[in-house]
Symmetry: C2
Subunit: 195 residues, 2 copies
């Protein structure tokens, strides 16, 4: 359950999973795709980078729509201090899953809420540790063939039931799907609750 | 992915979630409902109790089907050293969710694999900590009205997206849905793999 502000709401994201999560909570919003350069700056630390991208995705849209409450976010997968993005192709997906097999990685989602007219700017991030069990080569190639590994950072979707790869989670489950719903809703509701 | 033994497989459980999880992994099995007295013995400790119930659910069926590999399991929710079973009615579900709101509880699934002819008996259990965010009374009653809270221990299903109640998990996600799939599959495959 989520409060609906009086101002219009914009989700500055084209991630279908993020959209579904917020829709299923009952929030009404329109979609505006963010258009920013996502390149990491030289020497920029990982956390600073993901926070900046999440913020920048929303900032420009908030300037163009000063009456709207703009939600933006960015999710990354980190393994051994490197960022795993979306795989370039099936071979790259297999390489990533082999790296993750039997190991623990970290998923960070940074998110931001902007509204010019209400003078709201709020930013936070959520960090979840994910441990994969040991995967066989056959399992990895069957998964890459069957599922949409290619459009996901780290080459897996925890919501795929086929992906019974996840041995344990420490932290927010939703965060791994792309948005830390419970933490977000708690703060959001404290801002927009009418009671 | 899961190995299919040469012997027939029986799932001694009527839980629809457990059945779905194992089916989605690709295992072929038939269902035989366990018929045992699930009462806790006087002075029996919680872990001993859930292990015994999981074992007994399969033992009798394994005796009746000596050629079959019989999987049985039992899942309980523990809060402050008490077991939360399935709620008796909507009012009881609301009472349970109020208790869990803002607190951490523990989910334990015990499971057993029996096969007389192969001389297999294997038993294990998995423990996951689950933290709920603070829930409003409105959220609790909306959830109890909308979802099938009544047929679940602890009155919630983590797989319901409405149940964005779970702030964090420490341990196996699948365990909270009723079966610790990755841990089970790993051991199972080591027993029945043909390569």
């Amino acid at each position: 359950m989520i409060c609906q502000p009086d101002n219009p709401v914009i989700l500055a994201s084209l991630s279908p999973r993020r959209r579904e999560l917020l829709q299923d909570l009952g929030l009404k919003f329109s979609l505006v795709p963010p258009q920013i350069d996502e390149k990491r700056r030289k020497g920029e630390r990982i956390l600073a980078y993901v926070r900046r991208i999440a913020r920048e995705k929303g900032a420009e849209i908030a300037r163009a729509h000063p009456d709207s409450v703009v939600i933006s976010a960015d999710t990354i997968v980190i393994f051994r201090k490197s960022i795993l993005g979306k795989p370039r192709n099936a071979k790259d997906a297999i390489r990533m899953l082999k790296m993750l097999s039997g190991n623990t990685h970290v998923v960070i989602t940074a998110y931001a809420v902007h509204c010019r007219d209400l003078a709201i700017f709020w930013q936070d991030d959520e960090r979840t540790k994910v441990r994969f069990r040991k995967l066989s080569d056959q399992e990895i190639s069957a998964y890459v063939r069957s599922a949409s590994a290619l459009d996901k950072a780290g080459a897996y979707g925890i919501q795929d039931l086929h992906a019974n790869f996840v041995r344990r989670i420490d932290g927010c489950f939703y965060n791994v799907t792309g948005f830390p719903l419970p933490a977000f809703a708690e703060k959001w509701n404290s801002l927009f609750s009418k009671s």
